[in-house]
């Protein structure tokens, strides 16, 4: 997709989110109400899937950054990632809400009863599982990696939520027959994990940008000791540091999108960005809350939609400690400078 088209996608998305993500909608979603109307708007703009006619992966990441800026509720990232995998697998993308489950380590069983494949096992932290129609479930068995398309009604859901108040449900499949199942390469499973991780980075970058803007505005308006708090040097320096952290992750994220567009190895960018953003989350959320004082700490004021999500996203699909192992594997025996300046292409 060309830069112009991408800008159009971004403008449309911003318009939709600005109109839809009202305080009421965010509060309702915080009580786990699925944002039905918003979702159909996204669907009708072909914003919920990555396919050859619509968004490509880079577009999807840019869309998610904007979604993060507005704290858009719903399993948008999961839907996008799942659709990408389905296209790669040659499976038609079903209508309705699609989410994505990727195994964190537990045992999944894949057996065959006659011609029928049967799956049993547990997947944790599935975004908005309870509200989904279809799940793309990825898992490893002794036989290799597999991806299965499951009807959400054929599995059971145990409700849970992340620190951002977003549904993260546990999927229990007991002898379920997938509508489709296929062996995938280890590379494919890594790429899916990298995309899910980058999608969390995208959402977080948007959230950090929003918190920075909110904090600057608040500091300009709020007065103490007879002047706006933004005039105090300590507040200025704290916000300057927030700005530096935000700019740094923005720059790295932009480079990741560019790298994805160029077909470069996605694990590289997922690990760099997931690792880098942990510190940015710490600095920006702490700074935003510190400058806001008590008000920022309340349910009524909207700062927490961004800070709580950012805290949660640091840990979803691997925190920076987990990704550090991947980064060292990526560097391997290469000289660090060579690694930094010469990205390898995806295999």
């Amino acid at each position: 997709m060309s830069g112009d088209v991408r800008r159009m996608v971004a403008d449309t998305a911003r318009r939709i989110f600005q109109g839809q993500c009202t305080p009421e909608l965010l509060a309702a979603a915080d009580n786990h109400q699925f944002p039905t109307k918003l979702w159909s708007l996204l669907e009708s703009n072909a914003f919920t899937k990555i396919d050859e006619e619509g968004l490509n992966t880079g577009d999807a990441l840019v869309l998610l950054e904007i979604a993060g800026y507005y704290a858009v509720p719903g399993p948008l990232a999961s839907s996008l990632a799942a659709s990408k995998m389905m296209v790669d697998m040659g499976v038609p993308i079903p209508s309705g809400v699609v989410t994505c489950a990727i195994q964190p380590g537990g045992a999944i069983e894949l057996t065959h009863e006659g011609e029928r494949a049967v799956v049993s096992g547990t997947w944790v932290n599935v975004p908005w599982g309870r509200a989904s129609d279809t799940v793309l479930a990825v898992f490893q068995t002794l036989g290799g990696w597999f991806a299965a398309v499951l009807n959400s009604r054929n599995v059971s859901w145990e409700k849970g939520q992340n620190l951002g108040g977003e549904p993260r449900d546990t999927l229990q499949a007991s002898h379920v027959s997938p509508s489709f199942v296929q062996e995938i390469s280890e590379q494919q499973s890594s790429t899916l994990r990298a995309l899910l991780a980058l999608s969390r980075v995208a959402l977080t970058v948007g959230a950090l940008e929003r918190m920075l803007n909110m904090t600057v505005e608040y500091a300009q308006q709020r007065a103490q000791f007879g002047r706006s708090i933004g005039k105090f040097q300590a507040v200025q320096h704290q916000i300057a540091e927030m700005a530096a952290e935000t700019a740094a992750v923005q720059a790295l994220f932009n480079r990741a999108v560019y790298g994805v567009d160029q077909g470069e190895d996605m694990m590289r960018y997922a690990s760099l960005a997931k690792i880098r953003i942990a510190e940015a989350i710490r600095v920006v959320t702490a700074g935003a809350h510190q400058v806001h004082g008590a008000i920022g700490f309340t349910q009524e004021y909207s700062l927490h939609y961004f800070s709580r999500r950012a805290w949660a996203y640091r840990h979803e699909y691997g925190n920076e400690t987990w990704w550090s192992k991947i980064l060292f594997a990526e560097i391997g025996n290469r000289d660090l400078w060579d690694f930094l300046t010469q990205p390898t292409r995806a295999e």
Binding site: N162, L163, Q224, F225, V235, G293, T298, Q299, T321
Partner: protein
């Protein structure tokens, strides 16, 4: 030579028996399901039954005179009891303000009548107090309070609003900083502390929900509440001095660095099991910092015990202590191999979630760290 004189305080041998007694009690309570250890339980763990139990054992108002229901024990004995309670993550919120601030304030400034009326119930763990200092336009800048006291016969009428009053919906009384006269050139003149009965029909309490959905904070509105002379603390106009002197108590206590201790305790076990030198390093740094903070805080308690008013040292403890509490959270986040959750099977992930969600409050409540560093800078002669 050194700017602050912080002597090592020796805890007398007798405190060790007391410590063991408290520890046995807490262990039993925890085993019997009396409480589940939690981060920030001195704000969030409001349990009248637990407070009454502590009152029965003589662990509230420990240093107060016996004639007011106290136990005339030393500040160091009290220190040992509260640090044990805090380290255990026990639910002490109900009586916390009464024990830490209001009791001492009344003992110092209250009338005989006030002491007799309020202190014994406090010491029994049955009288719960809130503090009304902040207002929407008076946060860090407390001298800007506008809640207004107008003369009415022998007493006063109170109108205005307070905000961030922790526990006001569950407490019996609120100490309220208000303005009884103009400030004039001294911004700190014309302020008074009065006791407001929170069950007075002219008092309205509205909840403020926190970002984790918890209800601890409130807005409190005064619709011309009648304040009899017996509910004014000390002289009208003495409010500022009373408030600032009490801040040393509020700021140097072990609650300023033990809020996340229940998490740290589990974190040490986790690091011990990991067999990773650098994970252990990160956690060992926390342990060593905690050891230093405890010594600092004990030193300040020693100064308080001998009648000093260590404003600067207390500000320093709170600044360093609250930053420490957040470092515990950060290191725990590094060691988390699954996302933290508010409910679930793994205590580590639950304690971490509590620490993360409550974290922003640590460095704001009781004077933001910016205010505290300003106080330290003043103590160093820079302001």
């Amino acid at each position: 030579m050194p700017k602050f004189t912080l002597e090592t305080v020796r805890l007398p041998e007798t405190t060790e028996e007391l410590r063991a007694e408290v520890r046995r009690f807490l262990q039993m309570e925890e085993e019997n399901g009396g409480f589940i250890p939690a981060c920030d339980a001195w704000l969030g763990g409001f349990s009248p039954s637990f407070s009454e139990e502590l009152g029965k054992r003589g662990w509230i108002g420990m240093t107060w005179p016996k004639r007011y229901g106290g136990h005339e024990r030393s500040e160091m004995e009290r220190y040992v009891v509260i640090e044990e309670l805090l380290a255990a993550g026990a639910p002490v919120a109900a009586h916390w303000v009464a024990d830490r601030q209001m009791g001492p304030l009344l003992l110092r400034y209250g009338s005989e009548e006030q002491k007799e009326r309020f202190l014994p119930l406090m010491a029994q763990g049955k009288s719960y107090w809130a503090i009304g200092m902040s207002e929407p336009n008076a946060g860090s800048d407390l001298a800007a309070v506008q809640a207004k006291l107008t003369p009415d016969g022998e007493g006063w009428r109170l109108s205005g609003q307070k905000i961030w009053s922790s526990g006001a919906h569950q407490c019996h009384y609120m100490m309220t900083l208000c303005r009884n006269g103009p400030s004039g050139s001294d911004r700190h003149a014309g302020l008074s502390n009065v006791i407001v009965d929170l069950h007075d029909p002219h008092v309205e309490v509205r909840p403020i929900y926190l970002l984790d959905g918890g209800h601890h904070f409130n807005e409190v509105f005064f619709h011309d509440v009648y304040i009899p002379p017996s509910m004014v603390i000390g002289e009208a106009g003495d409010g500022w001095r009373q408030v600032t002197e009490e801040l040393a108590y509020e700021r140097s206590g072990p609650e300023r660095f033990l809020t996340t201790f229940p998490l740290l305790r589990v974190l040490v076990q986790k690091a011990a099991s990991l067999q990773d030198d650098f994970a252990r390093r990160d956690v060992a740094v926390l342990v060593a910092e905690l050891a230093s903070l405890r010594e600092l805080s004990l030193s300040v308690a020693g100064i308080l015990n001998s009648g000093g008013n260590p404003v600067t040292e207390a500000a320093l403890v709170k600044d360093a202590g609250t930053r420490f509490e957040r470092k515990v959270t950060e290191i725990a986040e590094r060691l988390a191999d699954l996302p933290p959750v508010q409910e679930g099977a793994d205590p580590f992930l639950i304690l971490l979630a509590q620490a993360m969600l409550h974290g922003p409050g640590f460095t704001i409540r009781g004077g933001t760290n910016e205010i505290l560093r300003g106080i330290v800078a003043r103590g160093l002669g820079l302001r």
